[in-house]
Symmetry: C2
Subunit: 447 residues, 2 copies
Amino acid sequence: MTEPSARVVIVGGGFGGLAAAKALGKAPTQNIVIDRTNHHVFQPLLYQVATSVLGPAQISSPIRSILRKQKNTTVIMGEVTGVDKEQRCVFVNDADREHVPVPYDYLILATGVRHSYFGHNEFEQFAPGLKSLADAVDIRNKILKAFETAEAEEDVSRHRDLLTFILVGAGPTGVELAAALAIFVRTTLRSDFRRIDPTSARIVLLDAAPKVLGSFAPDLSGAAEDRLQKLGVEVRLGHAVEKIDEEGVIAGGERIPSKAVIWTAGVAPSPAGKWLGVETDRAGRVRVQKDLRVPGHPEIFVIGDTASLDQDGKPLPGVAQVAMQQGRYVGKLINRHVAGKTSLKPFRYFDKGNMAVVGKGYAVLQSGKVQMHGLLAWFAWAAIHILYLSQNSLRISVFLQWLWTFFTGQRGSRLIVEKTAEEPGKANTPSATIPPNQTKPELQPTH
Amino acid sequence: MTEPSARVVIVGGGFGGLAAAKALGKAPTQNIVIDRTNHHVFQPLLYQVATSVLGPAQISSPIRSILRKQKNTTVIMGEVTGVDKEQRCVFVNDADREHVPVPYDYLILATGVRHSYFGHNEFEQFAPGLKSLADAVDIRNKILKAFETAEAEEDVSRHRDLLTFILVGAGPTGVELAAALAIFVRTTLRSDFRRIDPTSARIVLLDAAPKVLGSFAPDLSGAAEDRLQKLGVEVRLGHAVEKIDEEGVIAGGERIPSKAVIWTAGVAPSPAGKWLGVETDRAGRVRVQKDLRVPGHPEIFVIGDTASLDQDGKPLPGVAQVAMQQGRYVGKLINRHVAGKTSLKPFRYFDKGNMAVVGKGYAVLQSGKVQMHGLLAWFAWAAIHILYLSQNSLRISVFLQWLWTFFTGQRGSRLIVEKTAEEPGKANTPSATIPPNQTKPELQPTH
């Protein structure tokens, strides 16, 4: 039996890592959760941050505040750079130091995926992807700036190109972004401009695949596509993207001019496989045993999007629920192991279903034999996503925001927040500065 | 009489510019509001964004959405680079083009101030100031990262320096930040760390002046200082800052090691005076006539923090209320002028009073003969600041957030949102990407 102070290092504070950490909350272990950021992000709602509905703080919580009650768990903000399987430690860079070794008795890698440019990383500077809060804020800035730039342009002939938005990839992220953008221009922005008509914005959804939402049943893909067209989204399927540059996109031989291209296509796993130097699948995901261990290393587990495991002959999908179920499984397994109990039966994923929202009051949903689309599916989507959030404060905040947006059409976070070029303080001289303590408002309401 | 299509260009969407634009909402003029950002910020609450209480979207609104109902008003996001008084146009850089001339018949410059480093601009990289939302987010990141870095550091002897926060400047911003930080470490962060004790954080408030809140009555300054000391803030007055570098601050000959220095001292006006090439005061503010016009240019007005006007022998303070009253005055004056009516009597500032908050449930307030400090003053502060916000949605959102924070001690926006170094997509090959449309959550609440 391992001594009570066994160190469990969990890399990644996403759905998988957090589920594992929670499952070890009462274990006689010393848990260390390491994440590159200080927060857990509810990725399924990132598209709502990118489209100004929700603010970053409404879909994320500090990992250490989620785990504050687990006195056996320490949270470290840092970037893991590698693993030493023999010395049993991971190497971490933090704000202050580099390559700090953090020893483990058990290691859980839950490092997820990033968006992938199919080997064309040069696309990234023109077509940002959507995986982190910083990504979402970048895309929000890009979208809002396109309208600002067009409004500043008095030459009407340039408005069409300036207001062309291209989404590359018709999976859930692309579909949800396209629909949210279509609603945005028709409601929120409708009466905010003088020189441009926001409703004339062109929203193009591109994919090389023959249908949208490829992982859904054909009927639901069809319904989603119809809905997108009703919303005015230009759906172009079977068009492979050949080039993305500052002028726009070339797809199916045709150039579409655009200053606002967003990448919603494939994802690639974290370098966990490289750190471990073990066998990966063609996508680069670590091949794990049925108990989620790395072959030959019973102390190392890989879970979630960065793990590769087949079930009934098919690879498990890269969805939140797989990561969460795997996290709970590994937590339970380590609990049993440190208690000297026999191991668990192999991990088995229980598929609860799949859903995507297509604009205001419309979603597609499939669960087992059940297939739904429309308003009822949207209510189910809204309810489940609110339940999914990590803390009650977020549930309340998102629920109120959605109510308000649903009925007023206004969105909560239409901000472009960026450093400006301007250099402060240049205008003044040492002797000539206005006293600091005269910069407050006074006793009178604005009107 | 000017023809109905007179163009009024307003530079700056702060308290002054917005007040002027609103006052011209029904005028037979064509108004153009130009701001570097897309939003109006409620600056008095920036310190709450810097200390994670409120999110950026809770204290700001898109300028064009505030003015959406004014069909005679166009809002442009762009940076003004100069003014041609003879040709009567301002020059604007936007995301797309540079130095675009925007003609005016009337010009209102309400370009405000930035923080100033007393000629030591080299301080800025180590001690960011607090004037914009981007500044507030930078400072929030700096504060939160200090705790993350200390928690990652297993060498206890380094914790004290890593957890030393220095605020340079004991005006309202410095006092409010110091107090909010003191409450933050004692409540919100209390139980979130394992290796460090957040309550041991050292918060130092420095100023060369002999008292805090110099613009307040001596009794209130004293009360505020006592309150700060009760909260554990180290108040060091009469210490001029000699140096700020990556190691910390040198003040009064003594070095205080710190990785988290924040600049809350003086401000310097915008370059409006340079653009116009007219007389400024020693601080660089444009000297205006009693009707806020620039001498010799009846079509150019300068208002708010970047204007210099004496009243009863004293220069008007750089506060929101002066800017708002001046904005309304200029709007009214232009209304009368285009209507061919006689001009107005000189501008006169009506001082409603002044207030600052010193932590949870405590504020100092003076208005005419009235002086208050304590809980009642804090309620007045809270009520007035909520009324001050630009839109009802913000009033509701801030009110709920404050209620929640007051009773739970939790804060709404404890996020470090930054681009990470990591390059996406490197791990994969063109042929080997996981299908994009398998990245959604499923039908099951988390627990």
